[in-house]
Point group: C2
Chain length 456, copies 2
């Protein structure tokens, strides 16, 4: 699934051309880069970190294979000395990062990386890609989970994720964000994520009639059948499911559920519940699918829909209302000198940093301070941990279910007002430490003196 | 990059449970499925087919490996007879599909597949994923190309594509849609797509001053340097680029371009052009990047921006304004009997079909007719071609540049009104053949008689 050793060239050309220029001009000193989200997408007021595990795997196996070097040589863009240098290229730096499943906020570095300039530069594209996408999906999934309350959510997005790698990452990130599992069988095999399924319309239409299709399916899966009832008419289909459910009951079996997939789900779920209950199938659950996201889940539940679990597909799997994060990877220190990008509204925060989280005695998250790496704030929790040193992963990744549980626990300590799915402007308080503010203004002053000194 | 042999389990669980039920009930007759887009996303009035090559590779290498079977066995969901059947599972069916790079419309089958039921069912998830995503991106890219007129576009999306596979597929699909290349080096290696790059802010900030950074870069790349001028101040940066460009001219070299990446690009591009021209760098091009898509390209050009080429990133790479296609894969025939899904507004078109395209003498696309596979309409072009038979690919995929050229040629024959990026309701005429209409009403009547005959 992930032949990581071959992803080295999955990078923007400019990473390699810059590396060649750094090499030629002997600018190979230690560089620190900071990864952060510049601003919240509409309606978002927090993020969940995800994707670190992929980044560490990538960094620890990074190398240019012989065919990569042959290819680069064939482009005639690079000098032989530089290509020779790449032959022994490895990532030898350190990484300080938030563990996966932590809640973070705009401007906060989710990862900082220090390595010789060429190494730190070349990895930019993959690092942004891996953490940006997975954090976005974990965040989106958690919004659905919050909207659904105690009801269970399953990732149904695989057919419409943006490619196959996205299908795997969505299954994993949505599980971290609180989903109970995925329809993706390979994610079950690869990550140990619980997987679930129902049936498709094609199964029904391939039989001569709907009841016959239902009977055949429950005979093969007497314990776990969820019958899709909307192929021809949802309520007629529900009545047929009751007929089959009664037959199962007579055999000592139990129909697990029915699935609604179209139409006015609020009205249909209430009527279907009544039909099931009147048929004696009080324990048969109602599963709903079809264009669900946090907004549709909330709307239906507010209207009084009677649904036990949701298959949440496309709109979660591509984060349809906010399909990208404005995540940046900026040089913050080079060769011991703090630096930043000044232009326009996008000024970045210089130097190696740490995030300090204040909590109330109850555990409730109160506010964060972004400070210098060696700042100290008593009674706060530092969020960035050293996870890689000299290119070596320092400890094995925690099991996925543990990441998920840690997130769900932390989520209970975040005020509901920040979880609102309406586009309201309630920002969690994040401030800069006095020392960072001072450093920042010094660096800006120095740049202005140097770059705007009246030269043409 | 694509260990296709291991993607067999990249499927929804229900594909496998349905397969098990089909197997147990001996419903293994020939099944035909049709792949089509149900409706246009906002502002879209056409689609471009892409992704077929991945589907054919996938189908021709589909098998369950020993570890896949061991895993499925470990779930205790499947009976041993079914798992034994999967041991020798191969795709043995036929595929009729539009070649990549063709223009198609809502409701038109872009692919029809006929195979023994279990085979045709299991491949659903991958087929939708591959063709849906890549067709969506090729379409989005072509909209940018149309908005940019003669200006050149490069795919800059890799850092924000939804995963790594998406990064590769976006580079390929946007190239089909008319981009000149990508920043993605691996796409260059793997697909032979031209690749391009500039420099990042980190390169500038790592140097003691901006001019020094520019000098270092052009020394390493005297022929292809595009200098990023907005790190501190765009116009000051442009003046420094001119200084370096003049030094290059004195050495007999030429500064290829500057890149604008933030601020009011219309005003800045006009001022930067003036600064370049006054400095004698009339041939130095202006390259712009930063949140471009068809809408921003059109807006800036309408305002009078002076830009030679665009780096188009995130918003194209995730198709931000329409990040998924409502693509369906529906059973249309089983064991010789035409079938359809009736419920709600989503009725599908029964039977194996063909699309017939009418053109004017000039080549201009006039209208399409969706008919039965064996319909005949003189002087029309049938769009679906037999590309796989008995599980074998019938001819090698055309070279990528040829697909791109075929699309760009066909695109000139599509009226501009269908290419409008405003959300106007100008639909290309697509009708059903008389025989398809007749069959469709017969099938619907038969279903209604059978399913709504007054049974409870």
């Amino acid at each position: 699934m992930k032949p990581i050793a071959h992803l080295t060239l999955l990078t923007d050309l400019y990473e390699l051309t810059m590396a060649a220029a750094y090499f030629e001009h002997d600018r190979c000193g230690p560089a620190s880069f900071s990864l952060f989200v510049r601003r919240y997408p509409p309606g978002r007021n927090y993020f969940i970190s995800a994707g670190l595990s992929d980044v560490l795997d990538y960094l620890s196996s990074l190398e240019f294979g012989p065919d990569d070097l042959t290819f680069l040589e064939s482009t005639h863009m690079f000098k032989p000395e530089f290509l020779s240098h790449l032959e022994n290229f490895r990532f030898t730096g350190s990484v300080d990062a938030m563990p996966e499943g932590r809640i973070f906020f705009a401007d906060e570095p989710v990862l900082e990386l220090t390595a010789p300039m060429i190494e730190a530069q070349i990895v930019e594209t993959f690092v942004i890609n891996a953490i940006g996408f997975q954090s976005m999906i974990a965040t989106k999934a958690s919004r659905c989970v919050h909207a659904a309350g105690p009801r269970k959510l399953v990732d149904f997005s695989l057919r419409r994720t943006q490619g196959t790698d996205a299908g795997m990452k969505v299954a994993r990130a949505s599980y971290i964000g609180g989903f109970i599992g995925s329809s993706n069988v390979l994610a079950g095999k690869h990550f140990g994520i619980p997987f679930y399924g129902t049936m498709a319309h094609s199964f029904i239409t391939s039989f001569d009639d709907e009841t016959e299709a239902f009977r055949a399916f429950v005979q093969t899966f007497p314990e776990n059948s969820i019958l899709l009832v909307d192929t021809y008419d949802t309520l007629q289909g529900t009545k047929k499911a009751v007929e089959v459910g009664k037959e199962m009951a007579a055999r000592g079996e139990k129909l697990k559920g029915i699935r609604l997939d179209s139409g006015d789900m609020t009205a249909l779920s209430r009527k279907a519940r009544k039909i099931l209950d009147e048929g004696g199938l009080e324990d048969t659950q109602i599963f709903a699918s079809g264009a669900f996201d946090e907004y549709k889940i909330k709307k239906l539940l507010d209207e009084g829909a009677v649904i036990d679990s949701f298959g949440v597909g496309t709109k979660m799997g591509v984060s349809a209302d906010a399909p990208y994060l404005d995540m940046a990877y900026k040089l913050v220190q080079y060769d011991g000198r703090p630096v930043l990008k000044l232009s326009q509204e996008k000024t970045s925060l210089a130097a190696e940093k740490q995030i300090f989280r204040y909590r109330e005695a109850s555990g409730r998250m109160k506010r964060d301070v972004i400070g210098l790496r060696d700042d100290a704030f008593p009674n706060t929790e530092p969020l960035l941990e050293r996870v890689m040193d000299k290119g070596e992963i320092l400890s094995p990744a925690p099991p996925l279910h543990q990441i998920r549980e840690a997130f769900l626990d932390e989520f209970t300590h975040l005020d509901d007002r920040y979880k609102s799915i309406d586009d309201i402007d309630k920002k969690y308080p994040v401030s800069l430490s006095p020392r960072l503010i001072k450093l920042q203004s010094e660096v800006i002053r120095r740049i202005k003196e140097r770059e705007f000194s009246g030269k043409p």
